[in-house]
Symmetry: C2
Subunit: 437 residues, 2 copies
Amino acid sequence: MKKVEPKTLAGFMELLPKEQILFNKLKQRIQESYERFGFVPLDTPVIESSEVLLAKAGGETEKQIYSFTKGDSNLCLRFDLTVPLAKFVSANQDNLNFPFRRYQIGKVYRGERPQKGRFREFYQCDIDIVGRENLSIINDAEIPSIIYHTIKSLEIGDFVIKINNRKILKGFFEYLELENLTTEILRIIDKYEKIGKENFVLTLEKDLNLSSEKINLILDFITTSGNSKQKIEKLKSLNIQNQTYKIGVEELEQVVNYMLAFNLPENAFEIDLTIARGLDYYTGTVYETFLIGYEKIGSICSGGRYENLAEFYTDKKFPGVGISIGLTRLFDQLRENKILEAKSKTTTKVLIIPMTEDFSPSLKLASFLRENHINTEVYLENTKFKNKLSYANKQEIPYVVIIGEDEINQNYYTLKDMANSTQFKLSKQELLEVLNK
Amino acid sequence: MKKVEPKTLAGFMELLPKEQILFNKLKQRIQESYERFGFVPLDTPVIESSEVLLAKAGGETEKQIYSFTKGDSNLCLRFDLTVPLAKFVSANQDNLNFPFRRYQIGKVYRGERPQKGRFREFYQCDIDIVGRENLSIINDAEIPSIIYHTIKSLEIGDFVIKINNRKILKGFFEYLELENLTTEILRIIDKYEKIGKENFVLTLEKDLNLSSEKINLILDFITTSGNSKQKIEKLKSLNIQNQTYKIGVEELEQVVNYMLAFNLPENAFEIDLTIARGLDYYTGTVYETFLIGYEKIGSICSGGRYENLAEFYTDKKFPGVGISIGLTRLFDQLRENKILEAKSKTTTKVLIIPMTEDFSPSLKLASFLRENHINTEVYLENTKFKNKLSYANKQEIPYVVIIGEDEINQNYYTLKDMANSTQFKLSKQELLEVLNK
């Protein structure tokens, strides 16, 4: 029979069990952290009708979307979890209580050109707090506290949450009478860290034709230094006569004060006036999160405040604030940079090796251990003892229980600690105690 | 702005959070149970190349597959988790230890005509034990023990695991010289319970042109009664001179004996000679599982033994045994039949209601509770106390903590038990104790 090559598509992550176990642990911790803060789960379909999914899309994103027809229907694979949330909230607004705090952890699809660190199928882990008509600014201060708790639970090293407020940027540019160029300038500011000061100035000069006076004001503004309080004082002292700017500074000050009330350590966050986020729909507070020493990975948890989640589906206004962790890319980078290492090929705690022809005593012990919440395997194949032990070794199972004639006749169990090859004679209860540790 | 109707596609399950919480609980318990038996996780892509995914497919399944092109690639959405497993095992055979025990819980896609109880996107929860060249028959006896532990953990009532062995059926038909009609007869036997004796006889007579003598033998055979031991004795006593039949009966006897050694209660399973499973690739033991009193739901956990998992990808032989739970359909049926009821709209244990302008004391308490693993929300919106309490009520949050001037000045917390509207004055530590219960 002609064989088909069993290959997985480029841009799709498929892990061996050892790494999958680690991946799942991170996913589980993110979920637990989100629930700790009172978020409830959604699990919307991967496939949506094109009409619904593309109500808002356009530009680069739309090109990347997997779309197809089935029967008469034009269908798409979701490219994020925000559009499905907008659909869900619009459709179910009378059955939800607001503020609606939802999390969703699921795969999304973007047909990007595959390249290192880019995936066509990847997990997003999102939370959003969605209000009806209004949503208090204090929610913006709770978000960094959720980021902090969540990323800390992953045990991937020190990190810093950078926050900014788009209104400050917006008002600042209005004051400079550059409001028509706001989007363009924000895009360039977004790249400030990446391209450096010189290229930044050059780009503003050449691409946008700005005067050096305005460029210097912009530079002075986005490189404001000091701690959060000092930065806010500096922003206030600039005497910029613009209402949006003033509201932005006020919001940022409130958010920072409340962040401290949420017990967020002062060194866990900083105001960074260069953070703008590419997406157009953020309108207030924005967040990015960087691993210290691994800033080149880019932001590992980003988001912000938006005015209106679902304007394409409903006249009702749903303001919100949310964040997303791109877990597939993050995992790939953690692995690439050796920040995390997979520890074991299995979650099995103990392998039982039967040495007699009758397997019953081994199977009975397995049932007992499993009932006592110990992940247990029995080696059921007919092979030499050496091979059975070797399976435990290769699978990195920490303990082996050997059951032979002696053990059965004298009613004890031989436990082998695979880490140091020591052996113990134990009663069933003693065995359970060791394995429960 | 013209609005798009925010609708979800027919045949796609999208739950409100209350039901999603329950769904996730079932999914979580299945996962824990699978890990208890030493299975390791896989998470293969939803999209595969058509060449890989359709290496084996054909007939009804192929018609239902979502397929599309992206660039030059012919792609498909997976329609089960078995084909991706076959691909994975073939591709990674040198990096795996055998027997390879994997579980995968994920969504699969079939573009069936949407109808009640049928879904186009649904979760499968699969385990397989895959051997290289060989796999001991004792694995076939462990499977019912896994089914038992898993379904019991779902707390959905009494159930029975029905087992059979395809070799018995195969040999029996060879003996009757009906082997050319085996597939057809197996299909009709598969429907025996559904269509009843009369239609069964009629179908064999009319569709397959069988003699009434052979039909009576088939009927006598598949309606063999008594307990497992009696049924096996009956099968032996039939004096059917066929090697496959004899091996089948022997295997079934071994499996039943080992099932008892795995501590499976005798009333938890029964031999049912009418169980054949539709799929062609099962070659030995087969399983189906029925909820007692709700047999019309159909089998809620099925599977069996197969000779060769991956013959389309590799020359190596990988025999295995596995089962699958179709969780989306099961959940739908449990809900439909009121076997399970969603209990709470949230996993939040306590809502903190700040009564002072300064929210800091409430935010600090929230941090403290969250650090102590209590799922906690703070009501952050500016509204009347009545509305804040009403949010807790509508969200079915069990406890509320009220923090006003008195509480702050006198250093206590007012805890309200929402179930019976009783209130307590508690210290921080006492509060934690109550919430930890």
